[in-house]
């Protein structure tokens, strides 16, 4: 079977449901909107000396990713779980009986879309906020900035893919969202917040993957990490790979 046909089909699927545009629009609007709000109301005089020394204009642009990722989680989950909740999965698998083609096609299309929206979001956010920051703003050509901004887009794409894998394992929107949102927004922050659990927390996908967005290592008193930006990203790739393989194993083994 031509894999391109599967891709085309999945593209039709993804662009013809309302939840796709809702969630992805929210990713963009929330991230760019809050970044703009932060930078427009920014008052450099309020920073103390240490903060001034480690001030990271790129982080100002990208910190609102923390908020926007909620919508991306929902996007990633719904792409997979609505197949189950609507019963479409039976029709889909009858049309594409090879499970690896089906899952790979779906994930490839959705991840590509997430990457496009992610990059659009991070670059729009960056250029808008740098303009709003005025004198404090920097250009894309500065050291490591391009890596951070591109990395933010990559992070969002990888996040969506991770959520697709988990959703394929759990086969339910409610279960997947209830597990993933606390995992990304609370547990990881909570674990890093305590000295005893910090090391564990740093290896969670959100913290490890988020490292790629930092240009200045200790900006805003962020703790030391045992890995570099790409090392952290690699850790998140491993997490994602595990989730995808888990999702594939469940899809293969269980009756549709």
């Amino acid at each position: 079977m031509a894999f391109t046909a599967v891709l085309q089909s999945e593209w039709t699927k993804i662009r013809t449901v309302a939840s796709t545009s809702w969630t992805l629009a929210l990713v963009f609007l929330v991230t760019v909107g809050f970044a703009a709000l932060f930078s427009a109301t920014f008052d450099p005089n309020r920073l103390d000396a240490a903060q001034r020394a480690t001030f990271d204009p790129t982080a100002t642009s990208l910190s609102s990713m923390e908020l926007g990722q909620l919508a991306m989680i929902v996007f990633g989950v719904l792409v997979v779980s609505t197949e189950y909740s609507t019963g479409m999965i039976r029709t889909s698998l009858a049309a594409v009986p090879r499970r690896e083609h089906f899952l790979l096609g779906k994930m490839a299309v959705a991840t590509a879309l997430a990457l496009a929206v992610g990059l659009l979001t991070s670059f729009a956010s960056f250029f808008l906020t740098q303009a709003l920051l005025g004198d404090l703003g920097i250009g894309i050509g500065e050291e490591n900035v391009l890596r951070a901004v591109t990395g933010a887009g990559l992070y969002l794409a990888l996040l969506a893919l991770f959520c697709m894998g988990v959703a394929a394992m759990l086969r339910s929107s409610v279960a997947a969202i209830s597990v993933l949102v606390p995992f990304f927004l609370i547990v990881s922050n909570l674990l890093v917040g305590f000295e005893a659990t910090r090391t564990v927390g740093q290896y969670l996908p959100s913290n490890a993957g988020g490292r790629i967005m930092q240009v200045v290592p200790h900006a805003f008193d962020s703790p030391e990490t045992p890995y570099g930006p790409w090392g952290g990203f690699g850790i998140m790739v491993l997490w994602t790979l595990a989730a995808v393989l888990g999702g594939y194993a469940v899809l293969r083994k269980r009756d549709a």
């Binding site: 809050f34 989950v77 929107s173 409610v174 927004l185």
Partner: protein, 278 residues
């Protein structure tokens, strides 16, 4: 006219031997209780709540010494688990109503009981009592264990007020669940309502944190950072946030805020559920 005469009016029509009591709230409460206990999702959500609160709480108690409790309440170890566990209450609150919409059961329910407000009231009552009792029990298991194990002289004096605060904290979590139920009734879509509620609980501290770090002058940032869910809970459990925000709002102002928000949502849900085609 008494209810039983209604069927007897028709000559030659069927008359059932069953008694015909006028249904009241008690019936609906029994019904909702059956619904709640007969689903595995209840077990999953409340089970994870208890596990997280008690598990994390006891782990913290084990890791601390008597002297640590000089500054904090005996119930504070339960807080960490509850910050995560509250999400289970929220999920259960949403599911209590949205799963009826998702499966179509709501049509069966409202056909059997056309006085929809009675059903909705029963849902609120059964859910809130269950959530409150479960939360309180888990928190107090941790609190009492801490008091017993770490209640030595080094822990200093502890007032009864801290237990009351914890009780209010459990009430706060319950109100969050009630808010989730109301949102579920308004949105009718499980995943949507859960995402909305989780966003409402988890995002404000992040937003507030960013705002306070960069735009300390913005009263909005302060306000968000003062009045959000985790902060309110920390305060009710006797863990004061850093003092650079100025005087912390009182326990009751947190409760009044959540009561206002929840009350508005609940009122909205009564209006909408009463009118809507299902």
């Amino acid at each position: 006219m008494t209810p039983t005469t209604t069927t007897a009016e028709q000559p030659g029509s069927y008359s059932s031997p069953l008694a015909t009591p006028r249904p009241h709230l008690g019936h609906a409460l029994a019904s909702e209780w059956t619904k709640l206990v007969s689903l595995r999702s209840t077990l999953w959500t409340l089970g994870s709540l208890v596990l997280i609160v008690v598990g994390v709480g006891l782990a913290v108690v084990a890791q601390t010494g008597d002297e640590d409790f000089a500054q904090i309440n005996f119930t504070t170890p339960a807080l960490i688990g509850l910050l995560v566990g509250q999400l289970a209450v929220i999920v259960l609150g949403v599911l209590t109503i949205s799963s009826e919409h998702g499966t179509g059961l709501v049509r069966t329910t409202f056909t059997a009981a056309p006085d929809r407000h009675r059903v909705l009231t029963a849902k609120y009552l059964v859910f809130s009592m269950t959530a409150f009792v479960t939360t309180t029990l888990s928190v107090f298991v941790v609190g009492v264990s801490a008091a017993v194990v770490r209640g030595g002289s080094a822990s200093g004096p502890h007032a009864a007020g801290e237990w009351f605060g914890a009780l209010l904290g459990c009430g706060y979590v319950t109100l969050l669940g009630v808010l989730a139920l109301a949102i579920g009734a308004l949105v009718r879509h499980s995943a949507g309502a859960i995402a909305l509620m989780l966003g409402l609980v988890t995002l404000p501290p992040v937003i507030g944190g960013m705002l306070s770090m960069w735009v300390a002058v913005e009263p909005l940032g302060r306000l968000i950072l003062k009045y959000n869910v985790p902060v309110a809970m920390m305060q009710l459990f006797g863990l004061q946030e850093g003092g650079d925000l100025g005087p912390a709002p009182s326990n009751f102002s947190h409760l009044i805020l959540i009561l206002l928000v929840t009350g508005a949502a609940v009122a909205g849900s009564y209006v909408v559920v009463g009118r809507r085609d299902v």
